[in-house]
Amino acid sequence: MANTMTQTAVPNRLSNHWLHHLLRWETFLLLVTVLVFLFNSLATPYFLDPWNLSDATFNFTEKAIIALPMAMLIICREIDLSVASIIALSSVSMGLAAEAGMGPGGLVFVAVSVGIVCGLFNGLVVTHFGIPSIVVTIGTMSLYRGIAYVILGDGAFTNYPSGFEFFGQGYVYWVFSFEFTLFMGMALIFYGLLHHTNFGRRTYAIGNNPTAALYSGIKVNKHKLILFVMVGAISGLASVLLTSRLGSTRPSIAFGWELSVITMVVLGGVSILGGSGSMVGVVIAVFLMGLVTFGLGLLNVPGIVMTIIIGAMLISVISIPLVAGRLRAAREQRK
């Protein structure tokens, strides 16, 4: 009798608990997002305007696109702090290619290729020499941007071919910009990749226990290398969008963006220690961040106060469920 109970109850409770937890985190985030949306609609008459909302998406879409593969990398217990510098180096390479007379399609190819090379370098150093990725990518963060500065100095590339501005300024349909549509499409792809493929399951397995994953036959290093290359390639793609939106390149482009990207991922419920998190959470977090900054911007809250509010929001959104869970556990213990 006792035997049958454990046989049926244990797996059920495990999966229930996991699903329950996942659902709760995302519902909570969604609830906060809806509240912010309501608050913004009440606080300013300019918020509920399709064009204004569409304009606001431009400010976070490039970062959001990088947050998707970054979430997978962090779930896999690695991190890439060099993404903003990859944007800079890709952008400078595009500038050089544009000077040489390359068309829009060629520029996309150049940017993504440079991103892949940068990601490959990060991944090879991490997997080959076993150096922690945080150390490696702090190094390449300076390295890639350093190369961009050496090439460009205090100059700027401004001669991009006509048609190139579509990537960062064009619209696919009505208020839906190319950038935003691309982000939504990629969010779907990454959702499928993380939650419905073997590749995604291996990512969780490595993040939870790399040694166990290795002994169960997963090629851990190759898997990590693929993720680094993916982050690099998509940083290159983000560079296309940003460069096209700015219509110019300076080596300081996207300065400090790595932290915004990681903030989105962490706010989305991805454990910074690896092993857990979901794509849905990251996408909701992207919208939450976007809505908060846009709403505060409409109220002309000074940028310094805005960073304080976003920092406080990050800490409270992450700690409220933890504290609530601990309180509940304490109450159950008292029973």
């Binding site: 608050f39 300013t44 606001a56 700015l246 002309n300 940028g303 960073t307």
Partner: protein, 331 residues
């Protein structure tokens, strides 16, 4: 959970109603700066508020990113476009990267000007420089003549301490200075040296100047690094009262040297005037009170626009013992 969130929601709503309401007929002018928390721009805001008070029906939105990035300014500007402000006056972090978003602002009927640090002509209608090359050149020579007067001599020698020999604006200013020198016969120009905008090299060059020209009366340094190093060199060499230093510098760095007597006066643009003039120009553009070639700047006179829509505000503002302490707190 809902019980817990309900007070939070009501609290947020009450904040919403606290947000200042503006009268619908007010002209709303956004003063976008390179970054918040910089004394120079806080002072410009002071000038903008002064202009708003003078004009009456103007509301100033003083804003900017936390760090001096183009991306941050674009985010700020897109929220200003969403609020349908009447005018945006921006000191740009990047003259090219802001063009697409500012063009969009203009398409939506917002008047755009740049001030202090400019935007390429397709992104704005007017750019207001704090000063112009010929005004700066003339001012530097005038300051040297003032120094002779302060020393109490009828004629004397002057030398220039510049930045690098390849620095474009330095060379233009030196050229402009040489152009107006004939109008000041009391000044004998003896030498130009280059401190490369490095504190130690500028210091050594200033010391060398005083040794090579024992009768030197004035060192003119149109660079903030050079002027500070030269004033230090004069103090250290014990030549205070014999050699005067002047040029372009920052009040906060030079207040001590004006007090010690190593400097009589110096010049730099006045950020309060700049904020005031930028606001007045933006207001006049909104009110359609501007022509292709000129626009009124209130107490700062009339701005003459060149073919690119650029204008110079005024000659650099002179700082001496009477006002340097007040401005030293600002920038």
């Amino acid at each position: 959970m809902f019980k817990k969130l309900f007070p939070a929601l009501t609290a947020m709503m009450s904040i919403a109603y606290l947000a200042p309401a503006h009268a619908e007929d007010d002209v709303r002018i956004a003063l976008v700066v390179k970054a918040m928390g910089i004394g120079f721009f806080e002072a410009a805001n002071e000038g903008a508020q002064e202009a708003a008070e003078e004009l009456g029906n103007v509301e100033i939105i003083y804003t900017g990113p936390t760090t001096t990035t183009a991306e941050g300014q674009i985010e700020v500007i897109s929220s200003l476009i969403a609020q349908r402000v009447d005018a945006i006056a921006v000191s740009a972090n990047d003259q090219d990267a802001l063009v697409p978003i500012l063009s969009r602002a203009q398409q939506r009927g917002i008047k755009v000007i740049s001030w202090d640090s400019g935007v390429a002509p397709e992104g704005r209608s007017v750019h207001l420089s704090p000063s112009s090359d010929d005004l700066i050149g003339r001012m530097n020579v005038q300051l040297a003549a003032d120094a002779l007067e302060a020393k109490g001599v009828s004629s004397g020698q002057m030398a220039i301490l510049s930045a690098t020999p390849t620095s474009t604006n330095q060379n233009v200013w030196i050229e402009e200075m040489k152009k107006v020198l004939p109008e000041f016969p009391q000044l004998e120009f003896v030498d130009t040296v280059y401190g490369d905008d490095l504190a130690d090299k500028s210091y050594r060059e200033a010391v060398a100047l005083m040794r090579n020209h024992p009768d030197l009366d004035v060192i003119v340094a149109p660079t903030t690094v050079g002027i500070l190093a030269a004033a230090q060199a004069v103090s250290d060499e014990g030549r205070v009262g014999e050699v005067y230093v002047t040029g372009l510098g920052l009040p906060s760095e030079l207040a001590g040297h004006v007090e010690s007597g190593a400097m009589h006066n110096f010049a730099i643009w006045n950020p309060i005037d700049l904020g005031y003039a930028a606001t007045t120009i933006a207001y006049n553009l909104v009110m359609d009170n501007a022509t292709e070639t000129s626009v009124d700047m209130g107490r700062m006179g009339t701005a003459q626009l060149d073919e690119n829509g650029s204008a110079a505000m005024a000659e650099p503002f002179i700082y001496d013992a009477t006002n340097v302490e007040d401005f030293a707190d600002i920038f």
